[in-house]
Symmetry: none
Subunit: 181 residues, 4 copies
DNA sequence: AATGAATGAGCTTTCATTCAT
DNA sequence: AATGAATGAAAGCTCATTCAT
């Protein structure tokens, strides 16, 4: 039995979904409210800074999602390369979930947001946490140069998602481990 | 002797610059006109479809720029890896030119544009032309699997630009050849 | 030993302060609640008609304040002119209390309030009471034409406060008795 | 044959009228646009800072109006007191023009406006110009202490308008010269 | 009596575009 | 071809108020 999500959660999820699919600037708060099923006035009760706050919450939520996928892929892995392979397959499935306009969640959360406020620094901090997270898995699995391993994984995944999106083909992500070898 | 750029060229350049730095939706036509130094009413003579036309012209211009950089890097190269190294260094310099908010020109032109019209297909075609271009250089230089070489280069460069942007550090691009080896 | 003010008193004081400083329409109920340190939901228990009620209470409180200042100035005065002089000096001190944006409390309470409801008539009645109050002091002190004396005092004080405010200089009020002579 | 007023003039006049009658904060830009008969989008072409710009323009227009009334009253006057009398009668007529809610144009333009931006200083400068204007007439007519004469006139007129408004009686202004004697 | 979430009408402003000259 | 005024839909946000606990 799943509890009814709170208004705040509904808004965060709707924002994360729409900002990723359409981008921050291409998405209106009215769209977010409609998808969340929440009336206009409620937004500013939970997110006093409005759309910018929504972007922060969506970025946080997305970073948590990626961290969880990293853990799911690497926790049971016997070594780093097999963890990478599992991670890429999981991302390919994530890619397929949103049929149209699959912006990479990581890029989307990092680079499209309010220009004012500390959004960019906040996003950069989230990325650093993700890189540290990946690096920790690499170290635990005994990979040499664990921090660089994490960075390389991120670079590869970001680039592959871009090509997958242009081609509308999730297999670009699935074939990524082979390309890296 | 460089001729005074035409109004159309001024608008295209300004649009390419701003769309890359801020994104299509975050940029207003008024900003483009101001940067181009062109009066309000002129836009629709040169770009009858307005902002969407501007996006197409900016994407074309950017694709030409990347193709030119590819040629400059690979034409004099003795083999594929050395061409890759030169290309990455040239991109690092391009990255540094726009001090702030360095969106990757390739990603920016591909994914942020008008949702209507054939923009997305147009952008995908531009990317395919760039991949073919890179693949041709790989073939000419005798690299095995030339088409895949081109794709891998694109993936690596896209991902590295992303990390470089988050870190605000062009060296991520300069160190990319070492990482690929 | 001063008792802790009631919620109603806290709200009235905060409203009187803010309505005078910024005007009724420029002040949000949220601001009043914040200054009073009272939670959102409490307002409508104490002031069922909401903001309009708050305006009435603030006007009443302000009228009482002015009446008290009149009494303090004129009760010990040997004659009308000396009472006027004391009153002007007391107002100059009141002016200085609120460093910025010193709207005259009398004007503020009279003319900026809800447009509906009997607010305007209520405020006019308060002013008449103040005029009668001043007139009574004039009569008691043996001034000729006591009612007109009260009116003239009000006119002078209102006008002087206006100039003092524009000049940000309380001395305009202090020099008023000399000007009247 | 009066020329059709420009859009800018229509907006300025409508704003001056409504801001005086209702106050700056109680007036919506939509009301101004409706009274001016101008579509929404045009406002920001002529007044880039929107409502705040409108307040400045309305204040300027009102200051010019008062200066003109001063000139009309004092230019033909044989001495200062007779000029004052004429001026007060002209103001009484102005008072009657706007049947309801007759805020004093001078006070309204000075004290109710945007809180940010240099509005307050701008308004204070306008008042100083008006005071200098009145003082010049006093000097020309040979009145002693001409500058103070101007200030006293302003104080009296401001205060009298306030009482006239509360009483809804323009005669307060007409009787002002007698009171000053 | 007290509380914080909920509510939607209304606010000012920005937008890409069109029109008249 | 060039220009600046005009246009109204839509944007993000604030508001006083009501509701459920």
């Amino acid at each position: 039995m799943t509890a009814e999500p709170t208004t705040r959660e509904k808004l965060t999820l709707a924002a994360a979904e729409l900002f990723r699919r359409q981008g921050y600037h291409a998405t209106g708060v009215a769209e977010v409210l409609a998808l969340a099923g929440v009336p206009k006035g409620s937004l500013y009760h939970h997110f006093p800074d409005g759309k910018a706050d929504l972007a922060r919450a969506a970025a946080d939520w997305t970073a948590d999602l990626i961290a969880r996928i990293l853990d799911d892929a690497f926790a049971p892995a016997p070594d780093w390369p097999q963890g990478v392979a599992t991670f890429c397959h999981k991302l390919a499935r994530l890619f397929e979930l949103a049929a149209e306009a699959n912006a990479c969640p990581i890029s989307a959360l990092l680079f499209d947001g309010p220009q004012e406020g500390g959004f960019r620094d906040h996003a950069a901090a989230l990325l650093d946490r993700l890189l540290a997270h990946a690096g920790a898995h690499a170290a635990r699995l005994g990979a040499p140069d664990p921090q660089e391993k994490g960075e390389t994984l991120l670079i590869a995944v970001e680039g592959a998602w871009t090509l997958a999106r242009a081609r509308r083909d999730s297999d670009v992500l699935r074939r990524l481990p082979g390309r890296l070898a």
